[in-house]
């Protein structure tokens, strides 16, 4: 599977890369804007991402904005909801309202940092990504 990781913090980025590499090919961006660009680029090349992991606090475009942009792009291109990329927010913000906001914007899961690897893995199984 193809994975896109958007993460501005180096240590987290490194962790996510190491953790997710075993499941597929990972691309990395350091802010939300780059993530949206990468997503578009992949769609244009007809090899869209299966999984997108978005941090929330990022420069240029934050996680929410990136999430919304990606969902809008998908809508505009007529990609049905169940065929869209699975987007997981990965963030240290764990307040209920952050989670709700992300849910409303259409992420499929919200993982608090530090990430529970075991649960993350079982989530990937549930989402039938692995």
């Amino acid at each position: 599977m193809k994975i896109l990781i958007a993460e501005d913090d180096f240590a987290s980025r490194k962790f996510m890369l190491r953790f997710l590499s075993k499941y597929g090919e990972c691309d990395i961006t350091v802010d939300g804007l780059e993530a949206v660009d990468a997503f578009l680029m992949a769609l244009d090349a007809d090899e869209g991402y299966d999984l997108v992991c978005l941090d929330i606090m990022m420069p240029a475009l934050d996680g929410y904005q990136a999430l919304k942009a990606i969902r809008d792009i998908e809508k505009e291109r007529g990609i049905p909801e169940d065929k869209g990329a699975k987007i997981i927010m990965t963030t240290a913000l764990n307040e209920g309202r952050n989670v709700m906001k992300a849910f409303e914007l259409g992420c499929v899961a919200y993982a608090g940092k530090p990430i529970d690897q075991e649960k993350f893995e079982s989530l990937l199984k549930k989402l039938e990504l692995i």
Binding site: A11, N94, G96, Y110, A111, P114, I115, K119, L123
Partner: protein
């Protein structure tokens, strides 16, 4: 839910909500346990609650909770469709409580940062077998089974962050050899090497990369780091390594709070240091934020340390009360209470100011204003007090469950009657009485109430009865646990007391009350065999200690064959009491107004001194022991002759003692403050307070003084 209400963490919300629902279910189960069946409203309520828990636990990925709640939800789904009179109520209640217990247990694990790893299989099979019975009921009556409900997995998931409960906090202090060059870079090396293991890392000075001047600061003061990690000291030491020029590395483990304090303190300190070293050239603009510490990490830190307890938790569910509530952090309430205490003291300082004692000063207006001030502070204090008051309802309802569980295990039939559950007491006190009360109730169920056979033999109703009552009386709250069981045997207790060498006077001289009080001595149990619930002799002494800690007392009454009564008397509140101030020599004492019976001036003839030195005073034909506080506390310069001073007659739980005071000073509200730790515990003194003139006064604890 409107967005602004969700300020708590996702996980806290889930736990809070689930616990409330479980409580609702449990109450419903217990309220209907003796009915033939649940009514429609209850069934819908339980169904809805289970559905909610199933849904939210699904999102949170606690699979075992989801599965269990799904099973119970199914049961109620079919009950709703079937003739529910045929469902055995006993079994149903049992299953409900088991499910609720299971979920509770898992929630507790989650709260403690453990994995919710309870195995639900057994419970689910049990519930499913039960469900099959219900399904059979439906088909037997010729009806079709309602369509199977399919489990729809949630569309969105939330993964809670791994609990960093076991991560440790360290402060690290590295000093470098004075001749080391570029030690800011060396310091950064240390930071860099720790990044791998760090969950949070703060270092000072924090601009070591961009500001060369920081090198001097490090040479001067050393390099300080605060580290949150799961690693041990050795590992950290190894990671930092002994680089060139390192003079000393000091690693100290500390608590989370200390860690936060360290971070803020050192930062302030460093800022001062950095500011005083004038920068020769303008500091280059920071190109990058410190990489590792994202705002989120700090926010999380603070959050974890902040108390998340809310007062509203204990409030009855929203449905019953339409008033609107806000939940307030209990810490804030405590702060408010403390401030109130300070105001009371400040008021006394103003109103009793020695400057006012100038002769011939016209104080009419001052006194008017003072009266107004006093009135308002009293009202303010009362309203703060009532804000902290909570009904005993929740605590009492928990007892319902205990009676149910224990009586079923022991094969006894017991009815619990609850009276006065709306009685309100201070929130802090509620927390302290829950455990002792639970113990008393267990005792009653286990030891008090006999088995149905024995009860029949003795001509009693085979169903035992326990009454749990709360009421306000004389500025205190009485909580009474009364059972109609076999009561306590005076002889058995005396015998045991004799064996334990507790008797201090001839047996006949002991009043019933004194005899029963032996039960509260450590290691005392008349029960021959030990049961799961009580009888080990640990407990009553702990109960009494817990109650005494909050200024309460326990009275035991009992009649052999008829039952026992335990009376808990607890103060309404802990912080501010009405007190009477008096002096002995130069020392001031305060005593709670409601424990003073009267003041009396005695004549020399009324004093009786026994040959061994004990002193008594004869007042209106009654004889009371006298305590001379000046001798008791070794106070110099107090009045020696009883007729010069004044007798304060102190009554405590039926015991009376007279204390000799030099003079009375007055009555006022006093703010109880604990005696600082560095002063050892003094008999007869429970705390201290500040008087209007700023002097410190000791608060007399009548309980220990009389005893």
């Amino acid at each position: 839910m409107a967005e602004e209400y969700i300020t708590e963490g996702m996980l806290d919300m889930f736990i809070f909500e689930s616990e409330q629902l479980l409580e609702e279910i449990e109450n419903l189960a217990l309220n209907h346990k003796d009915d033939e069946c649940f009514d429609d409203a209850a069934i819908n309520e339980i169904f809805r609650a289970m559905h909610t828990i199933k849904g939210s636990s699904g999102i949170m990925m606690y699979t075992n909770i989801t599965m269990v709640s799904h099973a119970l939800e199914d049961v109620f789904y079919y009950i709703r469709e079937s003739d529910n009179k045929k469902v055995p109520q006993n079994e149903l209640v049992d299953h409900m409580l088991k499910v609720s217990d299971f979920i509770h247990e898992e929630l507790d694990k989650i709260k403690n940062g453990e994995d919710a790893d309870g195995d639900p299989e057994e419970l689910i099979t049990e519930v499913e077998i039960f469900l099959d019975g219900i399904k059979k009921n439906i088909t037997e009556t010729g009806n079709d089974l309602p369509p199977e409900k399919e489990y729809v997995p949630p569309k969105q998931y939330y993964i809670a962050p791994v609990a960093s409960e076991d991560s440790k906090f360290y402060t690290i202090h590295i000093t470098y050899d004075k001749s080391t060059e570029m030690c800011n870079i060396r310091a950064y090396n240390a930071v860099y090497s720790l990044k791998e293991v760090a969950e949070d890392l703060q270092y000072f000075p924090d601009d070591i990369i961009t500001n060369e001047k920081s090198s001097d600061v490090i040479l001067e003061n050393g390099f300080k780091m605060g580290l949150q990690t799961k690693s041990e000291v050795d590992e950290i030491m190894e990671l930092i390594g002994r680089g060139i020029g390192v003079e000393n590395i000091e690693i100290n483990q500390c608590s989370a709070d200390q860690f936060l304090n360290f971070c803020t303190e050192v930062r302030e300190e460093e800022q001062i240091v950095l500011n005083t070293t004038p920068a020769l050239e303008p500091m280059p603009p920071k190109e990058e934020e410190p990489v590792l510490v994202t705002a989120g990490d700090i926010a999380k830190q603070v959050k974890k340390n902040a108390e998340t307890k809310v007062i509203g938790k204990g409030k009855p569910s929203k449905k019953q009360e339409t008033q609107s509530f806000i939940s307030v952090n209990i810490k804030k309430m405590d702060e408010l209470m403390e401030l109130m205490g300070e105001i009371v003291i400040a008021e006394a300082v103003v109103l009793q100011n020695p400057d006012l004692a100038v002769p011939g000063l016209d104080l009419t207006n001052f006194h008017k204003a003072a009266a107004q001030l006093s009135k308002i502070t009293t009202e303010l204090q009362e309203s703060i007090m009532t804000m902290r008051m909570m009904p005993l309802k929740n605590t009492f309802q928990k007892m319902n469950r205990i009676v149910y569980d224990v009586s079923r295990k022991l094969g006894k039939e017991i009815e619990l009657e609850i009276i006065g559950e709306e009685t309100e007491v201070d929130k802090n006190i509620i927390e302290h009485i829950s455990d002792p009360l639970m113990h008393l109730i267990r005792n009653s169920v286990d030891h008090g109430i006999e088995t149905p056979q024995d009860r029949k033999k003795n001509g009693k109703d085979p169903k035992g009865k326990i009454i749990l009552e709360a009421k306000n009386e004389g500025g205190k709250v009485w909580i009474i646990v009364r059972d109609d069981g076999k009561g306590m045997s005076r002889e058995a207790i005396l015998e045991k007391a004799r064996d334990n060498g507790l008797l201090e006077k001839p047996e006949k001289e002991y009043s019933d009350k004194e005899v029963f009080a032996f039960v509260t001595k450590p290691g005392f149990s008349t029960k021959k065999e030990v049961t799961e619930y009580s009888g080990r002799g640990v407990g009553m002494d702990v109960v009494v200690k817990n109650i005494q800690d909050i200024g309460g007392s326990l009275d035991i009454e009992s009649e052999w064959g008829k039952g026992s009564t335990m009376i808990l008397k607890i103060p309404l509140t802990l912080a501010i009491i009405d007190g009477i101030t008096f002096s002995v020599g130069k020392t001031n004492f305060v005593i709670a107004t409601n424990s003073v019976k009267e003041f009396i001036q005695v004549e020399k003839e009324q004093m009786i001194v026994e040959p061994e030195g004990d002193e008594y005073v004869m007042i209106r034909g009654e004889c009371f022991p006298v305590i001379r506080l000046n001798e008791f506390y070794d106070i110099k310069g107090a009045k020696e002759n009883a007729e010069d001073g004044i007798m304060v007659i102190i009554e405590h739980e039926g015991e009376t003692v007279c204390a000799l005071a030099d003079q009375l000073i007055g009555e006022q509200e006093i703010v109880v403050k604990p005696i600082p730790n560095y002063i050892k515990k003094v008999r007869g003194i429970s705390g201290c307070t500040q008087l209007g003139d700023g002097s410190i006064s000791l608060i007399i604890d009548p309980g220990t003084l009389v005893g």
